[in-house]
Symmetry: C2
Subunit: 441 residues, 2 copies
């Protein structure tokens, strides 16, 4: 697995449901079936095999660039998100790990092992440097996005007495603060907080799990997994060509999300500008802030609510996703029109309360995933939404939005947020740069 393309490993062509899946070889398919089936990068479908299209789709998202990948990248279908505690007090050890992580992350983003020949080629008497379960799976559009939590800089929600272990307290951006307590949440510390996060998104979950596992392994003695979360299906569209997925309430979610194409809005609401920080925190310019919330959904009572109640809570029709009173998903909601003296879109509906018109224009970029983590021990599924959002200033965007929603949104009755974290997401990497270099140097 030393090249970026998926390896043709399969002894015979096969057509699984998921073309990013193991053993899938477009070459083998073409050879075996005599008919071209190619899905090109960038969302364009192409037809029969030709000299030009006989290459496998690389499925590689660029690791370096102005921004980190995994923010406005077209949302992949699967997620493994990990939050780490830094368990060393040694700045040098932490930096050395971040350098190793950067090399490995860049390689894995290309579909390669963590180090060259890492899985099987380093000799019999060496523990393999790569754990091997992603051999042959290709890159599967893997993105790895790193973030730094408040605890890396000193006191934090997880440890109010924490010292400035790495001498970076003065570099902490003012906007990186733990979230306040919101109404109706039951935050569990074992599902919350952390000093470093890595968001792994891919179209093959085994590729995402492999990446987190190998980073965790490379960090032994330096970091420890505080919590991790798998998401089985995206609940956000982040480009204009992606359709809007459904959450576990059965509704289309995030219709009004910011998209990669909204570059002006992203500059205003997502990317940190130089004017946002003093010189000590200019390392964040071009970055953003990530809010992660594990929101258990009370699906059993929800499923007993009648359709009208569900739609009045959401403020959209369930079938099409159109705002109440409109016909198309992307129609603008009309918050003024009434029926029988009451607003057609109720005052307590999610779409009204979360709409920028009713929040002073505030926008965020959502990038969440549905999860189901077994059962809860009381006969129910433990299911919900792993909410991820990016914003330029959490205290001015997510926090007021969530304060409004947690107090007024009728949906709150059916939600139990039990995990909560914030991270500073630095900008993308220039060639040769390592994760955190602008923070530490």
């Amino acid at each position: 697995m030393s090249e970026s393309a998926p390896h043709p490993q399969s002894p015979a062509p096969e057509v699984p449901g998921d073309p990013t899946r193991r053993g899938f070889s477009r070459r083998a398919m073409i050879g075996g079936a005599g008919a071209g089936i190619l899905v090109a990068a960038g969302g364009v479908a192409v037809g029969r095999a030709s000299a030009a299209s006989d290459e496998p789709r690389p499925q590689v998202v660029a690791f370096r660039g102005e921004r980190q990948a995994g923010i406005v990248t077209e949302a992949q279908d699967r997620l493994h998100f990990a939050s780490f505690d830094v368990i060393t007090d040694s700045r040098d050890e932490l930096i050395a790990m971040l350098r190793r992580w950067t090399d490995a992350a860049e390689r894995m983003s290309r579909g390669q092992e963590t180090v060259e020949d890492g899985a099987t080629g380093l000799g019999d008497y060496t523990p393999p440097a790569d754990t091997g379960e992603a051999l042959g799976l290709g890159a599967a559009d893997l993105t790895l996005t790193i973030g730094f939590g408040p605890g890396l800089f000193g006191p934090c929600a997880a440890d109010p007495d924490r010292p400035d272990r790495f001498g970076i307290a003065e570099r902490k951006p003012a906007a990186l603060v733990d979230l306040p307590m919101f109404a109706a949440e039951k935050i569990e510390p074992a599902r919350s907080y952390g000093d470093i996060c890595v968001q792994a998104c891919a179209n093959d979950p085994q590729v995402a799990v492999h990446a987190i596992r190998n980073l965790a392994r490379m960090g032994v003695g330096v970091v420890s997994v505080r919590w991790s979360q798998l998401g089985f299906g995206r609940t956000s569209a982040t480009t204009q060509t992606q359709s809007t997925p459904r959450n576990l309430f059965g509704f289309k979610d995030g219709t009004n999300n910011l998209r990669a194409e909204d570059t002006d809005l992203l500059d205003r609401w997502v990317w940190v500008g130089p004017e946002d920080n003093p010189p000590s925190a200019q390392w964040m310019t071009g970055g953003t802030y990530l809010v992660a919330r594990r929101i258990r959904m009370d699906i059993e009572p929800w499923d007993r609510a009648h359709l009208l109640e569900q739609e009045q809570i959401v403020g959209r029709t369930k079938a099409s996703g159109a705002p109440l009173g409109k016909t198309d998903e992307f129609d603008d909601p009309d918050f003024v029109v009434t029926s029988g003296g009451s607003p057609v879109i109720p005052r307590t509906s999610h779409v009204r309360l979360a709409h920028p018109d009713n929040l002073g224009g505030v926008r965020i970029l959502r990038r969440g995933y549905n999860f189901t983590d077994g059962s809860d021990g009381f006969g129910h599924l433990d299911a919900g939404l792993f909410f991820i959002a990016f914003n330029r200033d959490t205290g001015r965007q997510f926090v007021p939005m969530q304060q409004t929603l947690s107090r007024k949104d009728a949906m709150t009755e059916y939600l139990i947020p039990n995990g909560s974290s914030v991270f500073a997401i630095p900008p993308g990497l220039a060639p040769g740069e390592w994760w955190g270099q602008r923070l530490f140097e």
Copy 2:
């Protein structure tokens, strides 16, 4: 969603990594790109759009037939497995639920809602009969496989004093017995046992989760979710055209598995014959028995073992999956050849101990999945293999195999089985038949 085909819901064509994924519309792709991209049922790739191929791939696995689907069906990529306790003592209530389940399962297997127009079409003042999150996702090759645990018939591991609530004790097949205790396991009752299981396999995890959720919901008052498990990636090939996937030890798993094409071997080792049971349990003829084991893998110490140790534990090379001393994955292992006086394939290796030559010829059909369930609270990922196997007589196949492996297999050092269940899997359904009808009538 009242037809079997995925709905063209997306406002614009898109090409996600997973063609079973939400919003994916082959019609839209064809229309948008002018080039046909079709993947036909049955593993055959077809080429450009034509009058004949202009239909979406149905992605529908037949629900009825001689056998239940989901056993020798080409292993789908994703799993949601649920085990239910029956919480009523009413035979009539249980039967009524099984009849409702059958109708819903057949519809969902076609990509339809649990009942016609169930998600949004039953009126404003009715709770939707379908939870809606699979709208537009198609069937995604969903299979739903039902099984009955020992506790349905009376005393069982979960409740040794349980009465024969449903008057079926005499119909219990002799082969349906809880597993004995094996060496080096730490079985947790909250991850084990159950009166009814449903195995949902699909190529879109949201389709599998939707199916289990809706069955659980339809069973309120009759059954309660005892435990459930998501599997993110298959670890078994069940047809000769599927490549062998890798487990979380990084090795190819199940190279020597039974395959759908091995019909004689399946008759011998998987399907229950009329001679296996007295008249009272003939309802099992054509069925099989399912063993489910949640096997936590101790991946951190495994990852510190050197390559040679890993390969000697498994008995195969990590890169190719070939038996030690051979070159190709599918070469027969040579258990006789020695090197320096010791067998090339060690006496404690997994491949030797699990090989039919060393187990009196015994075979089983494996159909497991990799899982990662967050972290364990001690800085590690909670990851492993959700082992599923089908066999004709668990006491004569899986049990002696596992007794040998649990005592001698060097891999045992790295495994912590913590969930264990057995279920009788009845044969497939004739037209009009409902799940369990042959047992209850």
